[in-house]
Subunit: 335 residues, 2 copies
Amino acid sequence: MGKAANKCIGIIGATGAVGMEMVGALYGLGFAPKAVRLFASARSAGKQIPTPFGELTIEEFSVSAAQECDIVLMAVSGGFATEHAETIAQKSVVIDNSSAFRYRDDIPLVIPEINPQAAVGASLIANPNCTTAIAAVALWPLHQAFGIKRAIISTYQAASGAGSPGMDELETGIRAWSRGDDIQASTFQHPLPFNVIPHIDSFQANGYTREEMKVTWETRKIFGLPELPISCTAVRIPTLRAHAETITIETLSPVTTASARAALENAPGIEVVDDTSANFYPMPLTATGKYDVEVGRIRQNPVFGNHGLDIFVCGDQLLKGAALNAVQIAELLLD
Amino acid sequence: MGKAANKCIGIIGATGAVGMEMVGALYGLGFAPKAVRLFASARSAGKQIPTPFGELTIEEFSVSAAQECDIVLMAVSGGFATEHAETIAQKSVVIDNSSAFRYRDDIPLVIPEINPQAAVGASLIANPNCTTAIAAVALWPLHQAFGIKRAIISTYQAASGAGSPGMDELETGIRAWSRGDDIQASTFQHPLPFNVIPHIDSFQANGYTREEMKVTWETRKIFGLPELPISCTAVRIPTLRAHAETITIETLSPVTTASARAALENAPGIEVVDDTSANFYPMPLTATGKYDVEVGRIRQNPVFGNHGLDIFVCGDQLLKGAALNAVQIAELLLD
């Protein structure tokens, strides 16, 4: 019998980039639910869309309809989640991809490879930020093996972080450039083609953006290390849907490239892609569509003596960075 | 009388991306030499090209012709420079943009804002790597003000780092994508459009690329700090000609965003672009064509307590990262 055969699974925000990937990830992880119900706004209601579960009809969202599902995956704005998630969670188990509940002490924030125990018994679970999830699956085995004293991250984030409108704006801009036309920006603060924008989400009083602080706040919560010194500079670049990140850590015990590689190779959710002699290393070109996060360019960083390590990671923002992790949480709850 | 009015200035490799920018930078810095002579291979010889100094004819390179110039700027491969630069330097002053001589103890490596004294009396001077030059002009005033204990850099490098062929390959690839055609790669190891390639120059035994190690080796030499702990992860992204970099430093004395900003604002070669309320920060879109390196996103990084600082820099790879710095060295030699 297939996974979740006696369950109804609902997806709210099903027509967005993350919502659509949630349907795909359910299928990809072997779910065969009694029913998959897709909810969106009235505008999309009635639309028939092809899915791996056959053609499905978009339903207009209502709390009562959502509550008919056993498990509800939400791929909506923080505002929408704030308004409805807790009500739905009175009857269903809700996994919310927005940042609305991630920082509430009474709500677990879960990456199944790291803190599955946090999900036990919860009816509302928060799914982490994309940049955090991609970094954390690589950092956790290193933390277990060597202890992380501090971590410094720089990101190379794809347009998909802003959803379908972000990807559309990049593609439209690139096509405009090819025709010799001006490049417009509205989803992003500046034109993204051929550019780099060190500005994702709003600026905070300390000068960091909220996106950058999410990596600090969420990694600390998921790892159960409320004081972990970890910083991020989050940068949008003209790629479509996989985020890359450079990560430098100082470790508590000595680290070598061989011991780091062994720790990473044995960890779930990771594919070590690190054969420089064959030009194999993590890239959006290869990480896109992949469930595992690619980890490579493993180097001992002498800036921290024999306690320093550099890695380069790349993960699909829409998969491990969003939809896949949410579906993995759902999988966890079935066990 | 204009700058260098009694001098002949020669440019070898004049038809390349850096060579052409050298002609522009000579004009931009107010040079009015007796003659500007442009040298290239036999293939280009005889070609007439428009320049700010009027239409000039490309001459076929020969050592004897180059030696007729007072100052020779070389924008050629390391192999070509190794073969000819020292011979030319027997009669002319040579400024070489390749990496051939940068690590020789008897040859100065110069950024005029930092170590102009090193150029005095030299007949062969090396111009630094592009990534190094852009980082170093921002790091030097911070080092003078606070002392740098260690530095960690991640780069966002433009196609121009591979010269005209690199820019052509990115533009051709983007146009192919717009038509729905396959994207080819030959200058780069993988297709660059919509991708990120953590591989610039060859891999070394320690896992770092030569590009990454250049930042370490060259910053140490230019700063006169042979042990400075500084590391780099060098990443190619689909931009055309300005390199961006995230830089995290731990300082010897305490640092604040205000004190860092003051140090940077008073430094030459830098434009502080750091008004997040107006969405002003360094970007290729604004740094391209600019002589100054843009510095912004100035933040105190708590990962190093009150001794940590994050900045984001962006500089034109072909200007401060290559041609402009070489011409500034020439300017220095006239004084």
